[in-house]
Amino acid sequence: MVSLYLDLPTSAQEAGQAPPAKIFPPDAFIHIRPDGKIVIQVNRVEVGQGTHTALPMILADEMDADWSQVIAELAPAADVYKDPLIGVQWVGGSTAIANSFPQYRQLGARARSMLVQTAADGWRVKPEQCRTASSIVYGPGNRSARYSDLANEAARRPIPDKVALKNPSEFKLIGKPVRRLDGRAKCDGSHKFAIDLDLPGMLIALVARPPVFSGKVRRFDDKEARAVPGVRDVFEYPLVKGSAVAVVADKFWIAKQARDRLKVDWDSDGIEHADSSRLFAQYKELAKTPGGVAVKRGDETAIDRIPESQRIVVEFEFPYLAHAPMEPLSLAVRFDGDSAEAWVPAQLPTWEQAATAEVLGLAPEQVKFNVLFAGGSFGRRGLVDSHLVREAAAIAKRVRGRPVKLIFTREDDMRSGYYRPMFAHRVEVGIGSDGAPLAWRHVVVGQSFVKGTGVAMEAVLVKNGVDKLAVEGSSDSPYDIPNVDLTAHHPTVNVPVLSHRSVGYGHNSFVRETLIEELADRAKTDPITYRLRLLNKDAYKFRAVLTLLNEKASWRTGLPAGHAVGYACNQYNNTACACAVELSIVNGRPKIHRVTVTVHCGLAVNPLTVESQFQGGIGFGLTQVMPRGAVTLKEGRVEQGNFDRYAPPYIADAPTDIDVHIVQSTEPPTGVGEAPVPIIAPAVVNALYHLTGKRYRSLPLVAL
């Protein structure tokens, strides 16, 4: 797993330029350069989540590497970079730190051991007589050797099977606030994202896509398009469903002008024209009938015996959501006949390398697959059907011999589908005499982006016809409710859907946390106390974050008139969090004054990143309550195309301050990307209730 190797100085290095990344042998994670720089390969794409800093921190800590000399690089697609637990190279589900923590510690510790052995042999002492710090091995009698001077010889040693890991009390980086390695380059314009890629001979492709999903080209007139100087080719190519027309040109603006002049006759005959209003009506009818079983606990008929005055029957609506990362989708492929190279900000390099190869008629190893930085993703680049590389490869196959960068305009990006699915929920809650829920009947209706795809994870995720990712947040509710009947329907709809940061929790936790707070209000009990009483015995992380919230949100008593507080909590992949939100109503909209968040993510590898992910996750989750925080379809066509009509929060919409408090823990670290997203929307509407007297069950929050 570990490979250390030495580079001879080159003229480029002497001139102070970074040499091109060399990954040889291909299983290398660590490269110690003669100038003392330590280059660490990161096997997870950086989309903003901070793994590009956290994983090198973990490795460098065990290695006792000089942090000021560490350089992180994104690893290309290769077997050695697969997630050791999943067997796929990927980013998703907030798993990077949880799954790679042991691996990166081992890598660092083994490298350190090889360096120490080398120094000890040279000095004819025992390795136990040596210690390491800041990329130097120290031996008895003031002896010392730099890692960079030992690396060449150390690399020839066998990789040790077993090495001792540090005691957590010896950590120098893990658990400390460390600034991002990619921070400075992202502030001076030098950082390169996929869309910034510039290769010799590169062409740009823009695509005219069917206005109705799955539509195909009947015929097209490209006369005017081809007349634009700099246009190289115009052609139809297949989409995963339907087809599209690609315009290939020298530059983006040329391609854009040509595409605007293209006349395409689209065939959408016999294709479902999805319509949000119609779908909601259908979903709500469907929600009145039980679906496939997700959870059955206790007596499922118990609810029917509870008097109506002690019952709440409610319906919820959640719209399609676009991920809309700031960097519009962009990637490049070059096809050379018997080989190819791809440059992709890929969340699933293993799958996408294979899909690229499949389209090009190559074996995966014939495609050199480079992973690039992404300007956000939120799940949009974590594709089940690999449509992005399939499209880019189809275009490159036609162009042949030159790299083609496929760029989505913002409108292309927003209208190209792969949304967080729409959902309707119907819940009946029966309340016991003590004010606690006694019975809970819940039907979830919405598309599954896994069911029916045939991908390996389908067997794990889909049981009884129910996709776990559509019911999570309800199926694993932390509240002790004796009688539960949770079922789900997954209608097939002609709208491509996909995972979206926080996945099923985005809607299920909204349902759970608004209803629980409603019950607390009904019982005239403090909502934090109510939740704590109701938690099941295994929900210890929930208990910890709610207990800490009770302490940190002491401001919640004694709010000024016109201000109110609401709460919510969530757990995503073993990271629990809770928040208290203070707001008032200004100009008919909720104005958030303060958010206090508490987090239990085990050992917080980089508290600075945990804080930023929580502050950002809260802001991202706020999209759902923005008046224009929805993608809607009208007769098959997406009504939004840009940030004017799909408007996530800007700075004036976001809380001025979000204070994040981390539960101190020595448990294994868990991920922090998704956990915060679902808590803000329910907390906001829970607070609003105290100001307007209304319960809000449909998102986005168009009017109060």
């Binding site: 502030c187 100087p229 700031m326 992404a374």
Partner: protein, 154 residues
């Protein structure tokens, strides 16, 4: 196609492009200065913000033919300006960025704000930064970094 003379970050540049080409794409594709980002193309996200004669401007909607002889400063050049340097340092110090894609535009807007008003209030910040979208929602630290930079400008 037409020839245009530009003053970018104090340097003379010449480009041959269609007159309708937005300044954004001239910077990115002709001058290979990719620090200025494409986010929306209709001036609603702020990722493409540059300074034209010191005024924060969305370069995605400025056709090169309408630029005239205005001086252009981009994220690549703002560091040679004392306010620009202080803002960039505050951004690094506060660890503001996440994906980082919008941050060139955020920094350019923040520099324009602080040059005009070295002691901005929260309202001033919301007004001047109000058109710069960040999907990672790094807004809390953006606000803090502006306030920190403001202290160093005193």
């Amino acid at each position: 196609m037409a020839t245009y003379q530009l003053n970018v970050n104090g340097q003379r540049k010449q480009v041959d492009v269609d007159p309708s080409t937005p300044l954004l794409w001239v910077l990115r594709e002709e001058l290979k200065m990719t620090g200025t980002k494409y986010g929306c193309g209709i001036s609603v996200c702020g990722a493409c913000t540059v300074h034209l004669d010191g005024v924060a401007t969305r370069s995605c909607v400025v056709p090169i033919s309408l630029l005239g002889n205005r001086r252009i400063v981009t994220i690549e050049g703002i560091g040679s300006d004392p306010v620009g340097r202080i803002v960039q340092e505050a951004w690094v110090e506060k660890d503001v960025v996440q994906c980082g894609y919008c941050q060139s535009g955020q920094i350019m807007s923040a520099c324009a704000l602080l040059k005009a008003n070295p002691k901005p209030t929260d309202d001033n910040i919301e007004e001047s930064m109000g058109g710069n979208l960040c999907r990672c929602a790094a807004y809390v630290r953006i606000r803090q970094a502006i306030k920190d930079a403001s202290k160093h400008l005193a």
